[in-house]
């Protein structure tokens, strides 16, 4: 059962030690106080909130687009919306989830507007021609090809599956938080996450050969 133990260790790694922006570490009362100040037009308070949450928003957008400029646009737009809609935020809600909800909506709108129906990654090399026969780490080109393959695979996922995978894997949000951000049930999140990984497996495995 060494394999299972190893898997459990890997699970802990996925969920715990490598957590980037996990819990909402800032006391709610402090956040609410800042929000009240923003409502009164306090620029410093707005900048404080921005500095607290900017990385989280960037991480979500970057994981979704795999493009720095797109992610920066989303960060700007998210905080603009935050400023415009701050009066709609209700005390008692999770500010982080509310903000990520804005960011998620912007990501989806931006993606539909700028990338349209084309879900294929704009890669110079066709996916079929990529070399993945070697071992990862031994050859930088292989690693780059794996990145391309995986990027193409993620972009082929349905919007919601993709968003859930990104939120879970890169933003390391809990299912509960994802459910809140996306406005769906916990069971649906779990089911869509499973489908996302299963679809990725179907999309990626044919190109991976013996690499994994």
């Amino acid at each position: 059962m060494a394999g299972l133990e190893e898997t459990i260790g890997f699970t802990e790694k996925l969920t715990g030690s490598k957590k980037r922006e996990g819990k909402d570490i800032y006391p709610h009362e402090d956040i609410y106080a800042l929000i009240e100040k923003i409502k009164e037009g306090d620029r410093e308070a707005f900048m404080t909130i921005t500095s607290l949450y900017q990385k989280r928003v960037f991480l979500l957008a970057y994981s979704f687009f795999h493009n720095r400029e797109d992610a920066m646009d989303i960060v700007q737009e998210t905080f603009l919306r935050l400023y415009q809609k701050i009066n709609m935020f209700k005390r008692g809600e999770s500010f982080k989830n509310w903000l990520l909800q804005i960011s998620k909506n912007l990501c989806i709108d931006y993606y539909r507007k700028n990338y349209g129906k084309s879900r294929e990654l704009k890669s110079e090399t066709p996916v079929d021609e990529l070399n993945l026969s070697g071992q990862e780490g031994q050859n930088p080109e292989v690693s780059s090809d794996l990145r391309t393959i995986f990027s193409a695979g993620i972009k082929k996922l349905a919007e919601k599956q993709r968003m859930i995978f990104v939120m879970k894997h890169y933003n390391q949000l809990k299912y509960k938080e994802i459910a809140e951000v996306l406005g769906i049930s916990l069971g649906t999140v779990k089911s869509l996450h499973y489908k996302a990984v299963q679809n990725l497996r179907g999309l990626i495995t044919p190109y991976m050969g013996g690499q994994l």
């Binding site: 059962m1 394999g3 299972l4 898997t7 890997f10 699970t11 802990e12 996925l14 969920t15 715990g16 620029r43 707005f46 900048m47 404080t48 921005t50 500095s51 900017q54 990385k55 960037f58 991480l59 970057y62 994981s63 795999h66 720095r68 992610a71 920066m72 960060v75 700007q76 905080f79 603009l80 400023y83 415009q84 990862e136 690693s143 794996l146 990145r147 995986f150 990027s151 995978f165 879970k168 894997h169 890169y170 809990k174 299912y175 779990k190 089911s191 996450h193 499973y194 990984v197 299963q198 990725l200 497996r201 990626i204 495995t205 991976m208 994994l212």
Partner: protein, 269 residues
């Protein structure tokens, strides 16, 4: 196999630590006795491991952003955009009030009409009208102007000759008993006065253009009219008849006709 299906749905949740404790125990118990599900777990694990290929990219992207400066930049952009959107919303409200959507076709029609009207007006005022030629914008050569003046002189002379001819004809053809009173009649007196005035007007033109023949006949006519209007009161019937005969003898009417034809020929040329 049904249990495997159910368990497999929890595979991803298990990998990401999202199973409850009791679910986790059941899951582990199943894996202990199911090599197929263990194999599936390994496959899923590989996929999630492959996803880590981006973590390096994410770290690089995160490191490339100046996080300290970003809040200030975002805040400035937002204040600028917000000011612009407020202005746009204010303008939007005003334009919405002034130009409600249902009236927009009407406004569009009025605007098109106004533009067309302005264009037509501009074209009309820009087109030079007869008699509105500005001296600075009009050019004519000296020859052309002289020709025009000569033509005018000819026409005036023709007019003078024609009217004189009719008046003399009336006088010559009037019965001898009435011929004395002819020049005292209001019509003849007025005509004669007009013709005398006209002669004074055409004199300089006749001199200028050297219409000597015409001038000679016109002088004779002038003299005749002068005499007839001034002297006829004191003349007897015989003397007036003598004058009538003199006009016929001298063929003044014929000369007038010939001169007219000559002038008309020049006109046609």
């Amino acid at each position: 196999m049904t249990e495997c299906k159910k368990i497999q749905r929890d595979l991803v949740a298990f990998l990401y630590g999202e199973l409850q404790e009791d679910e986790k125990e059941l899951f582990k118990a199943h894996l202990d006795q199911c090599p197929h599900c263990r194999g599936e777990l390994e496959e899923f694990k590989k996929i999630t491991q492959a996803a880590d290929v981006f973590k390096e990219d994410i770290d690089d992207a995160m490191a490339s952003v100046d996080w300290e400066a970003l809040p200030s930049k975002v805040s400035e952009n937002i204040l600028r955009k917000d000011a612009r959107s407020r202005q746009e919303s204010w303008l939007g409200k005003v334009s919405g009030f002034l130009f409600p959507p249902r009236l927009r076709p009407v406004y569009a029609g009025l605007l098109i009409g106004a533009v067309l009207g302005a264009v037509v007006t501009l074209m009309v005022f820009r087109t030079p009208q007869p008699g509105e030629i500005n001296g600075r914008e009009y050019f004519a050569s000296q020859d052309f102007l002289e020709n025009v003046e000569l033509e005018m002189a000819r026409r005036d002379t023709l007019d003078y000759l024609e009217r004189s001819q009719y008046l003399l004809l009336d006088f010559v053809q009037s019965p001898s008993e009435r011929s004395v009173d002819f020049w005292q009649s209001e019509y003849a007196a007025e005509q004669a006065r007009d013709l005398l005035a006209k002669k004074k007007y055409i004199n300089p033109q006749l001199d200028k253009f050297q219409l000597a023949k015409a001038k000679a006949i016109c002088d004779q006519i002038e003299f005749l009219f002068f005499e007839l209007t001034q002297v006829s009161v004191h003349l007897s019937v015989e003397e007036v008849n003598k004058l009538q005969r003199m006009i016929e003898d001298r063929q003044i009417l014929l000369k007038i006709n010939l001169l007219k034809k000559e002038l008309e020929r020049h006109n046609e040329m």
